[in-house]
């Protein structure tokens, strides 16, 4: 390696600042105001100033997102990344930040996300924001494709057919998420629910009922990443990146070869190998719960259980509070918040757990966290392994 270039893993890079903006429904902030507020709070959390930031990473589906944010904040970055991989992007950015820092291209990376999805819901349709030249516009939308819901439904139906996964097992994920949300004062939905409540909620697209689907909210978040040396003098104890992995297998659901096996298999394999740990070592999991099924599929593909056994795995409260594999401890996208993309909130919650800041939902002695972001239509997968 050239002088100045280091291994990006193995505790050489750390997350040192995190914050949400304000999440909820009807939050009166524009997407840029969400990012400004979250950036300010995350830098304050780190004990860093705006002038310390020399890299900005964010994304959106339109425009020049990193320039939009950098200019709004008055930052002239020497490194930016706007990788558009859907909701996983903010997990990918932690890896990109580590690479850029390890290569000496920048030192303090600010990752932001902000959305007024809930407040804008009457003004924007998701498909209107997508490129009308993408192949789905010709070969999926005319059929009443309803992605992401329909893509994930098609995968869930195939999984149920091949492995006998049941609606009750899907519902277990929603129940676990709600039990965590009941311990999180900031969660949007905090009323207790049962498996029956999920199954009796309105059918949206089989097998998904309303309570199998993530929320729609407003919100934003920011994460600050820097080198281990710089982290030493900062306000909070650093959370180190031990390993990361990424895989993109397709864009449109018609091009996904086997709907029961996702790119999480590959991204997880990479992350575990780089971190030199195994699923057994993980204390807490934060994985993208766009739908209940997303969690079951991720559990299998990340190696927490065998292929086809994800449904049984989530039974009996295993992933809920007090269970043996605490998962989505904030309440996740199903119960806490989901302003269009969840990635950054997965990272924030994992850092909070590893810092021991989670109060009544704290996983005792959490040392090692796995973060898994999913983007598009089961298209992109990004895995991080973080340690305190």
């Amino acid at each position: 390696m050239r002088p100045g270039i280091r291994d990006p893993f193995g505790r050489s890079v750390a997350i040192v600042g995190i914050s949400e903006s304000q999440c909820g429904r009807g939050v009166e902030l524009t997407p840029l105001q969400h990012q400004a507020l979250a950036a300010q709070k995350a830098l304050n959390d780190a004990g860093l100033n705006k002038s310390d930031v020399d890299a900005v990473m964010t994304t959106d589906v339109v425009g020049l997102p990193s320039l939009k944010v950098a200019e709004y904040l008055g930052i002239k970055p020497r490194f930016t990344d706007t990788t558009i991989t859907g909701g996983s992007a903010f997990v990918v950015f932690v890896e990109r930040a580590a690479l850029a820092i390890a290569a000496g291209l920048c030192e303090v990376v600010l990752i932001t996300y902000g959305s007024s999805l809930w407040s804008d819901r009457s003004r924007l349709s998701e498909q209107a924001a997508l490129d009308p030249r993408m192949s789905a516009a010709q070969f999926e939308w005319p059929y009443g494709d309803f992605s992401p819901i329909s893509s994930y439904s098609l995968a869930a139906m195939r999984h149920m057919y091949e492995y006998g996964t049941t609606s009750e097992q899907l519902a277990e994920v929603a129940v676990a998420s709600r039990r965590w949300a009941m311990l999180n004062p900031d969660a949007v939905l905090r009323d207790p629910i049962t498996v029956n409540d999920v199954i009796e909620s309105t059918m949206i697209a089989s097998p998904f009922h309303k309570l199998d689907c993530c929320l729609m909210t407003d919100g934003g978040g920011a994460v600050v990443v820097t080198s281990a040396e710089r982290a030493r003098d900062l306000r909070r104890s650093p959370v180190f990146l031990l390993g990361s992995g990424f895989s993109a297998t397709h864009l449109n659901i018609t091009q996904m070869e086997d709907l029961t096996v996702s790119g999480a298999k590959e991204s997880g394999r990479q992350a575990f190998a780089r971190a030199a740990v195994t699923p057994n070592d993980i204390d807490v999991v934060e994985t993208y719960d766009s739908f209940t099924f997303s969690v079951i599929l991720a559990m299998e593909d990340l190696g927490f259980c065998k292929k086809g056994e994800g449904g049984q795995f989530v039974e009996g409260g295993r992933i809920g509070p007090g269970g043996s594999l605490p998962t989505n401890t904030s309440g996740g996208g199903l119960s806490y918040t989901h302003p269009g993309a969840l990635g950054i909130f997965l990272v924030i919650e994992a850092v909070r757990q590893l810092r021991g800041e989670c109060m009544s939902r704290q996983v005792p002695d959490a040392q090692l966290a796995l973060v898994h972001g999913i983007g598009g239509w089961l298209s992109t997968h990004a895995t991080l392994i973080l340690a305190r």
Binding site: A137, F139, D145, M203, S206
Partner: protein, 136 residues
Amino acid sequence: MSEKRPLPIPDLDSAVYWEAAHRREFLLQRCVSCERFRFYPRSICPYCFSEAFEWKRLSGQGTLYSYTVIHKPPSPAFRDKVPFILALIDLAEGVRMMSNILECEPNSVEIGMPVEIVFEDVADKITLPQFRPLQP
């Protein structure tokens, strides 16, 4: 949100496909080099990268790989269609595509069922390839 059903806008890759569908013909590209069919139409083979292809007529038969019954209309245009079946079809020629399953009650659709093509005119010049349960 538009009241109109989203319609395909044919492009340089897909014009032949949509023109054929409008004539009630089901054509897809087959690579001249590796002889594999591909879906959706594109200028290069995603398996062997050859640019040589020919449009071939398909049997119009396949099996249902997966489906979902859509209950909540994706847009106002689908309000009077729900519940409807959105499916992935494995065509006999080895490629997969999305379609609706017409002429089939949502509670009698099954993964693995044999299906066959039908054509649905949805606009002046636009005809969608659709599928229905294989008729005896």
